[in-house]
Amino acid sequence: MGEQLTIEIEKNLKEALLRFCETSSESPSAVVDRALTEFIAKARSKGEEKWFGLPAEDYLALPEEKRKALWSKAYKVELDKRQPPEGEAHPRALTPRQRDREALRRRIRKIREKSASHS
């Protein structure tokens, strides 16, 4: 046996609920219970899905420039925070090798030449 809660709803909503219950063969309590559960879960997940304080749907619908500006502004804020001291490199840290880097540059040049010739 569940808990009881008395609520007031609009006459039209009550009629719609009763009509729904008739067609679905469910009790009003079961329907309201399910509707509330779904509503609360949705509201909760919506609360978690905030991007820069905006609901996800609103954020994702923003134009590219606006989204870019939000990230850029927030990044600047992070940069303005007090920075921790710089670390020291490990004496045996792996550094990029000049020879490998030159090979990498050649490959990048090749990709760019290829893409320039295609366009």
């Binding site: 978690e48 899905e49 905030k50 991007w51 820069f52 304080g53 996800a56 994702l60 989204r67 870019k68 939000l70 990230w71 850029s72 927030a74 990044y75 600047k76 992070e78 940069l79 925070k81 920075q83 921790p84 710089e86 670390g87 020291e88 490199a89 490990h90 004496p91 045996r92 840290a93 792996l94 550094t95 990029p96 090798r97 000049q98 490998d100 880097r101 990498l104 540059r105 490959r107 990048i108 990709i111 760019r112």
Partner: protein
Amino acid sequence: MRRYAEGYARSARNQPLTPEQQLAHFLLQPSSGARFFISRELANLLRLHVPPSVVEQVASLLQLLIPLKYQRRWARRLHQDFGFSREDAHLLSLATFGSDLSGEILGVDLFVTFDLKLIDRFTASSSTIKKRFSRMVSHLRHPYTPVLLPEVVTPAEALHLLSTVTEE
């Protein structure tokens, strides 16, 4: 990073991805064999402004790049002398004077960005930047002497490079 995170959220909603979001998803595949890094600032930004479910997914693909000695100095020069924005200068210098949490590396090979203006600026001033960089590095001591500038590429170029490495 932004394109990946947004693309992840869109695909979770069965919404189509933009070409850039698709590219970011192709690139950030654990199977590529590459290690992907972000700055501490970007990690904080994600934590503060992006839904936890997205951050969780993103965090599994990325590692932190920690600033080492000379990172700020080089960032200042890139900003003041070459006109890079503060954020770009910070990230570019981190790609040179940055290490992973275990301190195993010093700098990274590729700096990947969708920002074509940044790439153009870097390419256009490349020889002057290199001269300035060499001058600065010539005064440094071990283990900083072999540091190199990163190669600045688009995600499409990075994807091409990674896929051809895998083939080789």
